[in-house]
């Protein structure tokens, strides 16, 4: 622990909440956001000799703080204390807010971007600046650095094993997946901050790398506005927040830098550009969420869905459905607060649902948005407070995808031995046999607030591409089309969703682009 604690205590780490006066900072490169995009970029540029300053709104929490309790993690590690949602409240948004970003709370699932998706960007979204083979060495490097390896079938907990076995029983493709962990104790608490540093998030890898290479980090500093003059950004201005990240301290900060990299993620990056008046191009448009529905199944045997790696198997059998919308199937861990909010009903009915937990497995269908004209994604705009809100009305085609996916989830769960399958509708559909599936699901309502819809993957909103009308940054180096010293490097640059859990896609793309940036004169 010495070295990680040393990093946290380093003079290069500036606690914005403790500043007694306004801060005026200077750097070669200012990286705004420290998640999958920002941390990789900061480390590579610092190692190349640039004077890098990272700016992060969230707190700098470590394994010393991660107590496996949602009472701590929701308010401290998630955007808007876990209450972030789409404008009509139909989709709950899980997104990290901390040093290390969402990588601190994700469930470690690691997929490279599918090759056909990268090809589609070239063909349909004018992404000409790189091709799939250009990304490969960067994924290789990041996989080594983050110990990303495929797990064995024997390591699956029963929650995941039921998914895997159910898919196989149906004759569908399913496989174990890759995770960014080393010496994982299988505690299952990835989503609440890894208590033992087994998860190789940005917090324990690229951020220490950046600091070791001379970078500085300001945390509890909220980036408010980029100030542009002519074709360059001159300055970032921001607000310092209290130790809890709840309210401004009354102090502010400015960063003067030669280059600025925006890495706030798919909602906060477009919001920063919009707050800065940099709304040229499709800023905030085509924001994708991989919207998710779930299905809980009760089995005779004990599942114990809160022990073991949260996600270790997946099925992409239905990912490519032509004119129909594709989706992929994964398991979700059971955390009491997350489950309490998602489980249907109230009072005694809800308690009954919760009490079955030890015999319950929950599987999800994750819809792949952005590949059909009818699924153009959502739009990020600013609220009065300056915070982002995403308007993502769920289109009819997506509701019908959910209906189709609900049937597939029920099929695999019954095939895997479930006694009863419950959709998370309020009130739930209770499916006990194959004959129930079409009858109940066809009659069920698929509309807002009849069933919970979640997103844990946010992509797009600052699309890359070489057609200025349909993109915000160019694809060769993710530089803004007009502003010569402004870059966006994070999940917001994707022109579609990814069709896989995003973290490794972002690591690879950021590593490639930061490597290109590192060739620039200092």
């Amino acid at each position: 622990m010495t070295s990680l604690r040393k990093v946290r205590a380093s003079k290069s780490v500036i606690d914005g909440s403790a500043a007694s006066s306004d801060l005026d900072l200077k750097a070669d490169v200012c990286v705004i956001g420290t998640g999958a995009g920002g941390a990789v970029t900061a480390a590579i540029l610092a190692q190349a000799g640039f004077d890098v300053l990272m700016v992060e709104e969230g707190g700098y929490y470590t394994s010393d703080d991660f107590n496996m309790r949602e009472k701590f993690s929701m308010p401290h590690l998630y955007q808007e204390a876990g209450t972030r949602a789409t404008k009509d409240q139909a989709i709950t948004i899980l997104q990290g807010r901390a040093v290390g970003g969402t990588t601190v709370v994700n469930w470690t699932t690691s997929f490279r971007t599918p090759e056909d998706v990268v090809q589609r960007w070239r063909d349909k979204h004018a992404v000409k600046g790189f091709a799939y083979p250009d990304l490969v060495p960067h994924w290789d490097t990041m996989e080594k650095r983050l110990a990303i390896e495929k797990v064995t079938l024997e390591s699956l907990n029963l929650n995941n094993r039921k998914l895997y076995d159910g898919c196989k029983a149906m004759g569908w493709d399913a496989d174990t997946l890759k995770r960014n962990v080393h010496q994982c104790l299988q505690t299952g608490f990835c989503g609440l901050g890894c208590p033992v540093n087994a998860k190789r998030s940005m917090l324990v890898t690229m951020i220490p790398d950046a600091i070791d290479a001379g970078a500085r980090l300001l945390f509890r500093g909220r980036a408010d506005k980029l100030e542009a003059s002519g074709n360059t950004v001159a300055k970032l201005t921001g607000t310092l927040l209290d130790a809890e990240g709840r309210t401004p301290t009354g102090k502010g900060f400015t960063v003067t830098a030669k280059r600025f990299v925006v890495s706030g993620g798919a909602l906060n990056s477009p919001a920063l550009l919009l707050r800065s008046g940099l709304d040229e191009g499709p800023v905030g448009v085509r924001t994708f969420l991989h919207p998710v529905i779930g299905s809980s199944a009760i089995y005779d045997e004990e599942i114990i869905p809160y022990e073991g790696a949260p996600q270790s198997a997946a099925s992409h059998h239905f990912a490519r459905r032509g004119d129909d919308v594709g989706f992929f199937l994964e398991a979700v861990p059971w955390y009491p607060s997350l489950a309490g909010g998602a489980a249907p009903g109230f009072g005694a009915e809800h308690l009954t649902f919760m009490k079955q937990v030890r015999h319950t497995a929950t599987h999800i269908a994750i819809a792949i948005d952005g590949f059909h004209d009818e699924l153009p994604g959502g739009r990020v705009t600013l609220r009065e407070s300056g915070m982002p809100i995403i308007d993502y009305p769920i289109p009819p085609k997506l509701w019908e995808t959910f209906r189709f996916a609900q049937k597939r989830l029920a099929e695999l769960q019954l095939a895997g031995g479930a006694k009863v399958v419950a959709s998370l509708h309020d009130p739930p559909l209770e499916i006990r046999s194959k004959a129930d599936i079409d009858r109940l699901v066809d009659a069920a309502p698929y509309e807002p607030s009849r069933l919970p819809v979640f997103t844990a993957h946010q992509m797009g909103g600052c699309a890359m591409g070489d057609d200025k009308a349909s993109s915000v940054v160019r694809s060769e180096d993710l530089r803004h089309h007009r502003l010569e010293n402004l870059y966006v490097i994070d999940g917001s640059v994707y022109p579609t969703s990814l069709g896989v859990n995003p973290q490794l896609s972002i690591y690879g793309l950021s590593h490639l682009m930061a490597t290109r940036l590192s060739q620039l004169p200092k």
Binding site: A81, K144, P195, N197, A348, M387
Partner: protein, 194 residues
């Protein structure tokens, strides 16, 4: 006003417009449920009382509804200012007797109804054809339950006993995969942990 325009007006603003009024049109005052244990950070005192009444029905019997409402208030204080305001309006709308009279045929505010009638109101909001009512019901229900189950006191009933203090076993392999990698040190729990 067609349904589309109605929905576009947003969660609560549109509903107040349609239902003909805000908090001022209640026919009877809100019934006090509990005294807040500390200062309220996000909610108005009246909204807090409504939330306690909702929590009493939503949570398992015997739960400390006032404490949950207080924790909801604390969580909300970290949400966007707009969300805090919307939630406060939702509580007033839920409490308000006039929409209750128009839609559900009851003349008392939610806090003055019998427990059975309160459950019936919750179910009518759950099953409403109006998206705004369903959304309101889900917002109230979910935040109470999410906060309740975040608290360890609720876990024994579920047979859920997570480990604690594992962070004392944290190790540092942060250099793994770099030229500075330390020789791999096994974690203390060599048998695979808990």
């Amino acid at each position: 006003m067609d349904r589309r325009t109605f929905i576009k007006r947003g969660l609560v603003g549109g509903a107040i417009l349609l239902l003909g009024g805000g908090a001022g049109l209640a026919l009877a005052p809100t019934k006090e449920q509990a005294t807040p244990a500390g200062p309220l950070l996000a909610l108005e005192p009246r909204g807090f009382q409504v939330l306690v009444a909702v929590a009493k029905r939503v949570l398992p019997a015997g739960a400390d509804a006032a404490s949950v409402a207080q924790q909801v208030d604390s969580l909300l204080s970290r949400a966007a200012p707009e969300s805090q305001k919307d939630f406060g309006r939702l509580l007033m709308l839920f409490e308000n007797a006039l929409p209750g009279l128009l839609f559900d045929g009851h003349v008392l505010p939610f806090t003055r109804l019998s427990p059975e009638s309160q459950d019936a109101v919750l179910l009518r909001w759950r099953d409403s054809k109006l998206t705004l009512r369903r959304t309101g019901y889900q917002a109230l229900r979910r935040i109470c339950l999410a906060v309740f189950y975040a608290d360890e006191a609720s876990w024994p009933a579920l047979g859920y006993h997570p480990p604690s203090d594992l962070n004392k076993m944290a190790y540092d392999d942060s250099k793994l995969g770099t030229p500075d990698a330390l020789p791999a040190a096994a974690p203390e729990a060599k048998d695979g942990g808990p």
